[in-house]
């Protein structure tokens, strides 16, 4: 756009698009009432959560955004194309891509309003806390909505008519709802489905929106997920732009299949990278339980009767013991993938398991390893998170997953899981006692 009238026209088109959306009963039903239905459904299913729905807001908002971007946008674009409206727009002295952009930004605001209504309703009806990090939530929303709008544009480009939009949209919507971690929670899905979810943008959308409701976490540590959404959204958006049809009956040429393939390849590429970098570790059913550990619960943990640090059981080298030969191991521990999961609680449990396995395996470096694990926990995690996770290991020894070997760290023996869990509790107590100042360093 180079002239003032074109800008004025663009703004008018943008405002009119929003206005027409609110005068369309169908758009109101699908854009606002259906998401409320999902909110109520989630509220009924997860009514016993404390605080209510807090750990489901990522899923609820993702469903709202997914509906608005992957159904609302392409339905509007294709309906207008079928009526010859985009054909008429082509005669205007402005590039049609500017008007498509106007429609997409208008849709972003429409979806934002639906999301805000969801958050307000959850607060009013269920007492769900508001996002603890509004800035992070806004950024996460932009990434998620941008990615889904890109997909919506590609659907609009591929669909010949409105029923085809519904069919294509369902092809994306249903798998993400059922096995993508958007509708059915990731932690109740079987391991294979959780891995498959890693190849879908819905999982990443939930995983960047959900932490924004947690004061401690925000979007810190979600860099890969934000990047995944950006890659998927850009690939779909570019493909959609290349294939965009302004006229009903206009055929898509043969090169279209390559653009569609490029859009889908981004899903595969993101999933493969996540898989190869250990980001698709199965999420245990109660993985998020560590989040709910309170200070009062921690206060009830006793630290009496623990074996001495130089004992045969649960040995822990003194803090000044940091010989040169352990530096290599410390380096490995710092980049060990199971200790770097997005789920901080499980990451800390994995690290504690290393100490437990070394101790049970009677590794000659068991005491040093235990010390290095403690140092890694202190270095790699926010103190409040570390305290909660350690308390979770103590209070819920059977929760989460327990690693029983770590060949990457030179621990090849395979002690029974039951013993690893028991020994993890002892080490977790030693670590937590130190973190709370109840055991001297």
């Amino acid at each position: 756009m180079s002239t003032l009238p074109e800008w004025k026209g663009w703004v008018r088109h943008f405002l009119l698009t929003i206005g027409l959306n609110f005068s369309n009963p169908q758009a109101i039903v699908y854009g606002y009432l259906v998401p409320v239905f999902f909110l109520v459904a989630f509220g009924s299913v997860f009514r016993s959560d404390t605080p209510p729905l807090l750990s489901r807001m990522g899923q609820i908002l993702t469903i709202t955004i997914l509906g608005g971007a992957c159904f609302g946008l392409p339905t509007a674009l294709v309906a207008e194309r079928e009526r010859g409206i985009w054909r008429r727009y082509r005669l205007l002295p402005i590039s049609i891509s500017w008007l498509v952009l106007s429609a997409m930004i208008a849709r972003l605001l429409i979806v934002a309003s639906a999301v805000l209504i969801q958050i307000a309703l959850a607060r009013a009806v269920y007492g769900t806390p508001l996002p603890a990090r509004p800035g992070a939530a806004a950024l996460a929303f932009l990434f998620v909505t941008g990615a889904f709008l890109g997909m919506g544009l590609l659907i609009a480009a591929l669909a010949d008519n409105v029923p085809a939009v519904q069919a294509l949209g369902q092809c994306i919507f249903l798998p993400m709802i059922l096995i993508g971690g958007v509708g059915v929670p990731l932690e109740v899905l079987p391991a294979w489905a959780q891995r498959v979810a890693g190849f879908m943008p819905g999982r990443y959308a939930v995983e960047v929106l959900q932490p924004c409701f947690d004061a401690r976490q925000g979007i810190r540590g979600t860099g890969f997920r934000l990047g995944a959404l950006a890659v998927i959204g850009l690939a779909a958006g570019i493909s959609g732009t290349k294939l965009f049809r302004w006229e009903a009956g206009q055929r898509i040429g043969r090169p279209a299949r390559w653009w569609v393939a490029a859009g889908l390849a981004s899903w595969g590429m993101v999933g493969l990278v996540a898989w190869r970098t250990g980001k698709l570790q199965p999420v245990p059913a109660d993985a998020r339980a560590w989040n709910t550990i309170t200070e009062a619960q921690m206060g009830q943990i006793g630290f009496d009767g623990l074996p001495a640090d130089n004992d045969f059981i649960a040995a822990l080298a003194p803090s000044h013991s940091d010989p040169e030969r352990t530096k290599v191991l410390a380096g490995k521990l710092a980049v060990w993938p199971p200790g770097q999961l997005d789920d901080s609680g499980q990451s800390i449990r994995n690290l504690v398991c290393v100490a437990a396995v070394a101790d049970l395996s009677e590794d000659p470096r068991e005491a040093e390893i235990a010390r290095l694990v403690y140092q890694q926990i202190r270095r790699g995690f926010v103190p409040a998170v570390a305290r909660q996770a350690l308390a979770w290991i103590i209070l819920g020894p059977e929760d989460g997953q327990a690693l029983t070997k770590a060949p990457e760290l030179g621990l090849f023996r395979h002690p029974p899981e039951r013993l690893v869990r028991q020994r993890s509790v002892v080490y977790a107590k030693k670590y937590l006692g130190r973190a709370l100042g109840k055991i001297p360093e």
């Binding site: 009238p5 004025k8 008018r12 009119l16 010859g84 409206i85 008429r88 002295p93």
Partner: protein
């Protein structure tokens, strides 16, 4: 009559100049090397049956289709120049707007893209849609919609107005209103280029016509000139009681053909005045009673048949695109 050759167009003063325009869709040649010019202020019509290439030609002129070859100029500017686009206003066939948009909103939206445009209120009044200014588009009648599209077409004060089948699908009264508005627009000095498959619309509305058939421009002239140049004859049908004898009819001077059917004697002539005078005398001489006398001048349909060797398609009474 000689089919009018494609005009080698390049006149500097032409409002629209099309030269050697070709457009193919795969193996189908929709437009086959046509050339013509439209003078400023003229109402020029492309007449032809469905599939003749009219809409494709207009879409190339509007920049909606990329020609395979040929050149198109608007007021001397190549159509690819962005300035040329601002000189054109258009009403497309089978166009629609959003169901809920109001005429006022539509006019304000489309007008806002141009530096020089008519105000929405002015157009609502002029095109007689002010009573529906704030009604949803879906609630407008066919005539009101067409008047709105015409208003949208002129909103940027275009030098050239391109109208694709402006009267299609309208009842006679609405069609007359649209024709009257088109004449008004042309009277302001704007050039009108329209397509139609309605012979009557073409005859009544257009100063000049280009007859298209199978992607070719087979004739360009005013409707009167086309008919005048035609070899088609005037048809005189006469019914008497008792019927005239063949000897009385066959000897009439300047009659080129005569046949008797259920409607009576049908005579073909290029000198209708003389034949009518002689015919009435023969009826009188035969002592017969004149029951019916009908004179049918050659029409554009006859011109089309003569130029293409094919009858005007009956189903073209309905709308359609090329």
């Amino acid at each position: 009559m000689h089919p009018v050759a494609n005009v080698a167009a390049s006149s500097i003063d032409a409002a629209v100049s099309v030269a050697g325009l070709w457009k193919r869709y795969g193996a189908t040649e929709a437009v086959r090397g046509i050339s013509f010019e439209v003078a400023p202020g003229e109402i020029f019509g492309l007449l032809g049956p469905n599939g003749a290439g009219k809409t494709t030609t207009l879409e190339c002129i509007l920049g909606l289709r990329l020609p395979d070859s040929g050149s198109i100029r608007i007021n001397g500017l190549d159509i690819k120049a962005s300035r040329a686009k601002r000189l054109i206003g258009a009403q497309l066939q089978a166009a629609a707007l959003q169901d809920k948009i109001t005429p006022r909103q539509a006019l304000e939206l489309f007008g806002s893209f141009y530096p020089q445009s008519f105000g929405a209120e002015e157009l609502l009044l002029r095109f007689d849609i002010e009573s529906k200014a704030d009604a949803a588009f879906a609630t407008l009648s066919g005539g009101q919609k067409q008047r709105l599209f015409l208003a949208l077409a002129v909103i940027n004060r275009p030098a050239v107005l391109v109208l694709d089948e402006p009267g299609a699908g309208l009842d006679p009264q609405a069609r007359r209103t649209i024709h009257s508005l088109i004449r008004e627009v042309a009277a302001e000095g704007r050039t009108v280029l329209l397509s139609t498959h309605d012979l009557e619309e073409a005859h009544r509305l257009c100063g000049r016509l280009g007859i298209m058939d199978s992607g070719r421009l087979v004739a360009v002239a005013s409707p009167a000139e086309l008919i005048e140049r035609s070899q088609a004859t005037t048809r005189v049908t006469v019914r008497t009681a008792p019927p005239l004898a063949s000897s009385a009819v066959g000897t009439l001077p300047e009659v080129t053909g005569a046949r008797f059917d259920e409607s009576g004697w049908v005579l073909e002539t290029r000198a209708a005045n003389h034949v009518l005078a002689d015919l009435v005398r023969r009826v009188d001489e035969a002592g017969a009673q004149l029951l019916d006398l009908e004179l049918r001048r050659p029409s554009l349909e006859d011109v089309f048949i003569e130029l293409t060797g094919r009858p005007w398609p009956v189903d073209d009474a309905r709308g359609g695109a090329a």
